[in-house]
């Protein structure tokens, strides 16, 4: 431990003395600064303080030194730990305070002027130097905490908890808090509650005119209406599909399971495109209806119907996945018991099966509701005049109004709704669950469904499955015909060539297609963020599943929270918070990576915790008693056993990074454009075919990535030959 303390103190000192303190303009990974080092932009803290008129940076040095002073005491001495904590926390506090206090235009906290004088020197965001110094301070704090005997005296765990908490505070809490602050301040940064109330109670938010025959309703009503409809309908359809698959003898029913993977690897607005192609003014169905029945084409699909249909298309498979778990978990012996007690099929369904289904139904409903609220792509493409909160937020930022304060207010509303749903789910569903899967073998046969019910199920699920297939067929087909939007079905490669042309010139390959830039950025960002998400998520899962410490519940809540924040809210909060020093990240590729890591991390945490609960804790302990430290134990024992969870997390975070649109659309820049943002742009320009072609390519890339991840991580080998089960897994 003393070596680590010395190492991190040295790292902090080195970074302070030599590394560029501020962010370099050509990005974190640009190394052009080496040429001019040390100039006014690339100097280290030491040079800034000495030669560039920034004396306040001297203030960081005492805290670095304090870490060294701790080494004067033996580890057992409480002062060793206490000094380290003081050095770490003090250093972090001071570094951030000076960063916030002195910004691009000099002193930002004008009330400090009488104390320290006016400062004109500008200061930009943190760069390598500051980042490493801050990280070293975090490590000093962790080592100090471990030295005092907390976290079982385990520096690895203390460090993991403290670093991940710090990161979550910085990249989940700080942006949200900044956004909240932005909502109650005016453009000069003064508190203005009256402005907040005016924004909050604006007519276009709460209006209920449409209920009494008026032209339109407020955005809250629209959002809730859409959410409830999507939630309810997707749940019912999900249940119908689940019942068909589990409880009927319909042939091909296993194939339905395969359909569930489609919405997961589809960018969210691709379905909207297919809907336009089918039902738009010049769509295939519209044309058919006009020719066959003389129904004139209209724009009915733009608005609630279109958004609802496309949300259902993507949400029903998810609800199906939830419900199939619930339906399968209902022990047949319960229904058999009911039947032996003389109940009819219908009575059994009504009194036994249905009540057991209810918690699952509520879960699926809430999931659908939240997903609908958070959905941005479909309302953007199909919404027309039907405003929902997520699109309204977007237009408040990027539209003609450009009113971040208003966007913040709308984002708060959306956040309240999703957090509310999240809270209900935790509180209410957490308690209301019936455990029907026991460790005992269960060999009963499920009761047959009543005949009428079966007929209803067939008549709803089969057409919908067909409709889903057609929608996806359109997506694939549309890329290869001249203009599917206008029903021009001549085969062409043009769209693919427009987007992905590669020319062979004498200087090698030239990627002249218009989509290459965004595709490359997307793949790069996804490929960088997926492993980071995995590491972060599984590390947090390990901490939560394997250690006990005060404040663990809060820590768990923090990590899961980012899941409940809609992408649009994240996007707004990020541009509000990270547009100014000291954390100045907008316009970089890094902000995209950070955004994905913290948005997708909860999935890694969940997957990891589920997997860890299957792995006997004594395996870790055995490794510890054999002299392996926690880091070694994690690497050599835990990770190999967690392979399935690692694959799941990597696939999920990669795929989500590739298909995400809501948060990303705020964060892309000309230099770092993402595929989804590019496609949305093409859609807005009316180039459906190109958008569709690009989407197909994205789906292909994701399928390829999934295969690569699975091959790369490999399977976990436990060799359960014969009937023995691995004794160590699961305890006995």
């Amino acid at each position: 431990m003393r070596k680590l303390v010395a190492g991190w103190s040295a790292a902090a000192l080195t970074a302070f003395l030599f590394l560029p303190w501020q962010a370099i303009e050509d990005g974190f990974f640009g190394f052009g600064w080496v040429r001019d080092y040390p100039d006014d932009r690339s100097a280290s803290a030491l040079f800034y303080a000495l030669a560039f008129d920034r004396p306040w940076l001297w203030g960081v040095l005492p805290f670095v030194a304090l870490g060294g002073v701790a080494l004067a005491f033996p580890r057992e001495d409480r002062r060793f730990g206490q000094l380290l904590i003081a050095a770490g926390l003090g250093g972090i506090g001071y570094t951030f305070l000076q960063g916030f206090a002195i910004g691009i235009t000099g002193l930002q906290w004008t009330w400090l002027a009488p104390l320290i004088g006016q400062i004109e020197t500008s200061q930009y965001g943190f760069g390598w130097g500051a980042t490493i110094v801050l990280f070293a301070f975090l490590m000093m704090t962790s080592l100090g905490v471990a030295a005092l005997g907390y976290f079982r005296g385990d520096a690895f765990i203390a460090g993991s908890v403290i670093v991940s908490t710090a990161l979550i505070l910085a990249f989940v809490f700080f942006p949200i808090a900044t956004m909240l602050a932005g909502a109650v301040t005016d453009e000069h940064g003064n508190l203005a509650f009256d402005l907040f109330w005016r924004r909050f109670f604006a007519d276009d938010i709460w209006e209920l005119n449409c209920l009494v025959g008026g032209p339109r309703c407020g955005v809250v009503f629209n959002t809730v209406l859409l959410g409830v409809l999507t939630g309810a309908l997707s749940t019912l359809m999900g249940l119908a599909f689940a019942l068909v698959v589990v409880r009927t003898g319909l042939p091909w029913r296993k194939g339905l399971r395969a359909l569930t993977i489609l919405p997961i690897i589809t960018p969210p607005f691709v379905i909207s495109l297919a809907i336009i192609v089918l039902f738009g003014r010049t769509g295939i169905v519209t044309w058919f209806l006009e020719v066959a029945f003389g129904i004139p084409p209209s724009r009915w699909i733009y608005g609630l119907p279109g958004v609802l249909i496309s949300q259902l298309l993507s949400q029903i498979p998810v609800a199906f996945l939830v419900m199939i778990g619930v339906v399968e978990a209902i022990s047949p012996s319960l229904e058999e018991a009911s039947q032996t007690l003389g109940a009819s099929r219908w009575q059994t369904f009504r009194t036994v099966t249905w009540p057991l289904l209810r918690p699952g139904l509520a879960a699926a409903f809430l999931l659908g509701f939240v997903e609908s609220l958070a959905d941005f792509g479909n309302p953007l493409v199909l919404g027309g005049n039907f405003d929902v909160l997520s699109t309204k937020i977007f237009f408040a930022i990027v539209g003609a109004q450009h009113d971040p304060g208003r966007a913040a207010v709308l984002a708060i509303l959306l956040l309240i709704m999703t957090l509310g749903a999240f809270w209900i789910q935790m509180r209410w569903l957490g308690r209301q669950s019936y455990v029907t899967v026991t460790g005992k073998g269960d060999s009963g046969l499920s009761a047959e469904l009543p005949r009428t019910l079966k007929r209803v199920l067939y008549w709803t699920t089969i057409p919908w499955a067909a409709f889903t297939l057609i929608t996806y067929a359109i997506v694939i087909f549309g890329g290869f015909v001249r203009d599917i939007g206008r029903f021009d079905l001549e085969f062409t490669w043009r769209h693919y060539l427009d987007a992905f042309r590669v020319e062979l010139t004498e200087r090698g390959m030239f990627f002249s297609g218009s989509a290459w830039d965004s595709l490359m950025t997307t793949i790069e960002v996804s490929a960088i963020s997926a492993p980071l998400t995995g590491i972060m998520g599984l590390l947090v899962a390990y901490i939560l599943a394997r250690t006990k410490f005060a404040g663990q519940r809060t820590f768990e809540f923090l990590t899961m929270l980012s899941f409940a924040i809609p992408g649009t809210v994240v996007g707004v909060s990020y541009i509000v918070a990270f547009n100014v020093p000291p954390l100045e990240l907008t316009g970089t590729g890094l902000i995209l990576v950070i955004c994905f890591v913290f948005r997708n991390m909860p999935v890694g945490v969940r997957a990891g915790m589920a997997a860890l609960s299957q792995i006997d804790k004594s395996l870790d302990e055995a490794s510890l008693t054999l002299g392996a430290r926690t880091a070694t134990t994690v690497r050599r024992v835990v990770m190999p056993l967690l392979r399935p969870a690692i694959v799941a997390t990597l696939v999920f975070s990669f795929v989500h990074a590739m298909t995400a649109v809501s948060a990303v659309i705020f964060l892309v820049s000309a230099r770092h454009n993402m595929a989804t943002a590019y496609i949305v742009g093409r859609v807005e320009a009316g180039e459906f075919a190109l958008a569709i072609a690009y989407s197909t390519v994205l789906i292909g890339v994701m399928a390829l990535a999934i295969v690569i991840i699975q091959l790369g991580v490999g399977r976990r080998q436990l060799g359960r030959r014969g009937q023995q089960t691995a004794a160590a897994l699961g305890g006995h």
Partner: protein, 360 residues
């Protein structure tokens, strides 16, 4: 095999007023004891008594809330498991399911940075020691329970630890295998001169393998001592009851002279070690085999009673008798002449297995 395979020889383990609390609940409360180097000490008690927590405190898998833990005279209280020279055989064996036998056993030396070939040599040596050759490339799931356990022992031995810990090592084995494994562990401990702490809830197992036994109850030590001491002179009603069957009978101390006391049990009187009692009513523990049962009136003092229940167990008979001093449970080796239920029998007290239980 060399006499000692530990680097520094066996070490002592010392607990000084150790307490482990989870929130407000104490799992181990103010426990002090010393394990002498080269001895096998069992921690015995019912589930939830704190014995496993005590073992984990020695290993460093739990950190004491209060008090001091010393191994080989050095304070290790706040050292993590990886920093202590202790290894452990887990109840579930905790073999790494993704590694084969050899890799499992070589794990300790490997993570300590030894050369792979050296680690394998050491691992093979230890596997030979537990009698498990030619299984190197098997996965743990391909071994029987007994084999898995031997792998776990070999793996713990590669660390050549100053202290070796066993957490209920027999609980996953079938009854026949238990005796053999128990003897193997004891032989190994003696041959290698190891300091071993051994957790079990089975009093017979504890009596069979230990140099000393520490009986725990409700997070505290109820009694410690040699097996014979515990069985024949339990210090409390709990220990008397927990260490095998026992008849706990009300008796009267007539007089105390020195460390001997004259105790009146029903119609008979007996000289017993006084164990700090004063004249007056007391409790006496009588082991079932310390009562000999005869159909006719024996010589010397005897307690008459009526046989209420009789059971034939092959090697012995078990009787329940109603006597004046209470209901008595008796084990009788004489299976050839069973006494019928309802008949009158006479009970004579043996010299051993009868003791005053000090009131606590």
């Amino acid at each position: 095999m060399t006499k000692s395979t530990t680097k520094k020889g066996p070490a002592s383990v010392e607990f000084r007023n150790v307490t482990k609390r989870y929130g407000t609940v104490a799992a181990v409360s103010d426990v002090s004891f010393t394990i002498e180097p080269g001895t096998l000490v069992t921690l015995l008690g019912p589930s939830g008594c704190g014995k496993t927590t005590t073992l984990r405190l020695i290993a460093g898998l739990e950190i004491a809330t209060e008090g001091q833990i010393r191994i080989a005279g050095e304070d290790v209280t706040n050292l993590s498991a990886a920093d202590r020279d202790v290894s452990m055989v887990f109840q579930s064996y905790a073999l790494f399911p993704h590694m084969n036998v050899l890799d499992n056993v070589a794990y300790g030396p490997t993570v300590a940075g030894q050369k792979k070939s050296d680690a394998y040599d050491l691992a093979r040596q230890k596997l030979a020691l537990v009698g498990l050759k030619d299984y190197d490339l098997r996965l743990p799931s391909e071994l029987s329970g007994g084999q898995q356990q031997r792998v776990a022992v070999a793996r713990a031995l590669t660390m050549e630890p100053q202290v070796l810990l066993f957490d209920e090592p027999l609980s996953n084995l079938d009854a026949k295998l238990r005796r053999r494994v128990r003897e193997d562990i004891r032989d190994l401990q003696r041959d290698l001169n190891l300091t071993v702490a051994y957790v079990t809830h089975d009093q017979q197992e504890a009596l069979a393998v230990s140099d000393r036994v520490i009986v725990m109850s409700n997070a505290r030590i109820a009694q410690m001592g040699a097996p014979r001491e515990l069985y024949e002179a339990p210090a409390s009603l709990f220990v008397a009851d927990f260490m095998g069957d026992s008849n706990l009978i009300d008796a009267t101390v007539e007089r105390v002279s020195g460390d001997q006391a004259l105790v009146k049990i029903g119609v008979t009187s007996l000289e017993l070690p006084s164990r700090g009692t004063k004249p007056g009513p007391c409790k006496v523990s009588i082991r079932p085999e310390s009562l000999s049962v005869t159909a006719s009136v024996p010589q010397g003092p005897a307690i008459p009673g009526t046989i209420r229940k009789a059971a034939y167990l092959g090697t012995h008979m078990e009787y329940t008798l109603a006597a004046e001093i209470g209901e008595l449970f008796v084990v009788d080796r004489d299976v050839a002449n069973p006494k019928p239920v309802g008949s009158t029998a006479y009970l004579a007290l043996a010299r051993t297995g009868v003791s005053i239980v000090p009131s606590t």
